[in-house]
Assembly symmetry: C2
Homo-oligomer: 226 residues x 2
């Protein structure tokens, strides 16, 4: 059915690109079908051959992006050992994808949830897949002892996702004037220190502290713990 004329971008893609740019730039409301079709060099009526309407067009954008993400994620995590390492990879991977596709990200974070029936959409179930990976990671960490045994995976996931989303939202609101990766290392360490057992906490290695403490001149009382 689809015969991609490689010489030029397909019409559908042109529409999507135009819409993506305009939605992200001016917002969904202020962007008119006339704007989009002008940018895509097409009549307004023709646009309706490709999308059922403005809302359908909006939904199509995150739909594609999130699908790509899902496919990529599996490959990215493949072969990585350990829950903390997976968590780290997840974070760096996702931030890179967001930095590479800020328009998609903006549409996802700003215009998707407003849709009222967003919960019933294809995109939402795909987002849940992305989140489910995190749950698995926390469950693995718990199982292997890398993370605290009494941790609640879904709570940990809330904290992790919430933090990610907030950082991204701020970055988008501030017109992405800085790098998303600024302070990321520190943020990750802080998060991990909440989840992991102490031995695995790189930010505050207790073993080392203990060792230091027992060496400090004033501190030696009774080193009854080891």
């Amino acid at each position: 059915m689809k015969h991609p004329k490689n010489k030029k971008e397909s019409t559908k893609d042109r529409i999507i690109d135009a819409a993506k740019m305009l939605f992200a730039d001016q917002g969904y409301l202020k962007t008119t079908i006339a704007d989009i079709s002008k940018q895509a060099e097409l009549s307004e009526a023709a646009l309706y051959e490709y999308f059922q309407g403005k809302e359908d067009l909006l939904l199509a954008i995150p739909d594609m992006w999130v699908s790509e993400l899902i496919e990529d994620l599996e490959r990215q995590l493949f072969g990585i050992k350990g829950a903390v390492n997976k968590l780290r990879k997840y974070l760096w991977w996702y931030f890179r994808r967001v930095e590479e596709s800020p328009l998609d990200a903006k549409i996802v974070y700003f215009f998707l949830k407003t849709n009222a029936n967003f919960m019933q959409t294809e995109v939402y179930s795909n987002v849940k897949v992305l989140y489910a990976y995190l749950l698995e990671i926390f469950e693995e960490g718990k199982r292997t002892g890398e993370m605290r045994s009494h941790i609640n995976p879904s709570i940990a996931r809330n904290i992790f996702i919430g933090t990610m989303e907030h950082i991204i939202t701020l970055w988008l609101l501030r017109d992405r004037k800085y790098s998303l990766f600024e302070n990321l290392e520190e943020t990750f360490d802080l998060l991990v220190s909440a989840f992991t057992t102490r031995e695995n906490d790189p930010a505050l290695p207790v073993r080392t502290l203990l060792a230091e403490a027992t060496q400090t001149p004033s501190g030696i009382k009774h080193g009854n713990e080891a």
Copy 2:
């Protein structure tokens, strides 16, 4: 100017209440001025005596709510000693306010950021005030030694706010079928364990071991407010 006929709700309030309900229920887009004015028992034209337009009306809602929050927050935190206690109060207070005014919260979290010029609005600067309190709390915690000395307050704030917002957003998306306070205790403990020095971590009292081994380092005055 204002002569509040106490016998009935003022017209302006009626409009705001109608808009709040309809926006939160159907979304900003699907709600028409006709809907709102019908609900408020008013002609469409009359509505424009009170608000410049649909967008102005939308903005008015969080504007009022956030102003109230700011005024309340100061009183709520007044007299509470210790950064962790303040943090806890902040969280419980805010969640209660959200649970009491879910429609306002929904408008804030779902329809405000989409506004493109949201950054220039009155509401945004007020939201920043709310967030600034958190920064102060983390700085205080750092200063008093209640929290880790190497913590970055703005990173801690990101984690805290991100987590809050994510929990609230989920709750709203799921039609608030459960209590916002479900698992809150556990979530808070997990967060605090990332921020605090070990002695204040009730979940995993590793530091008590250390404290036994050494004396409290550098004369930390831990307010024993737990």
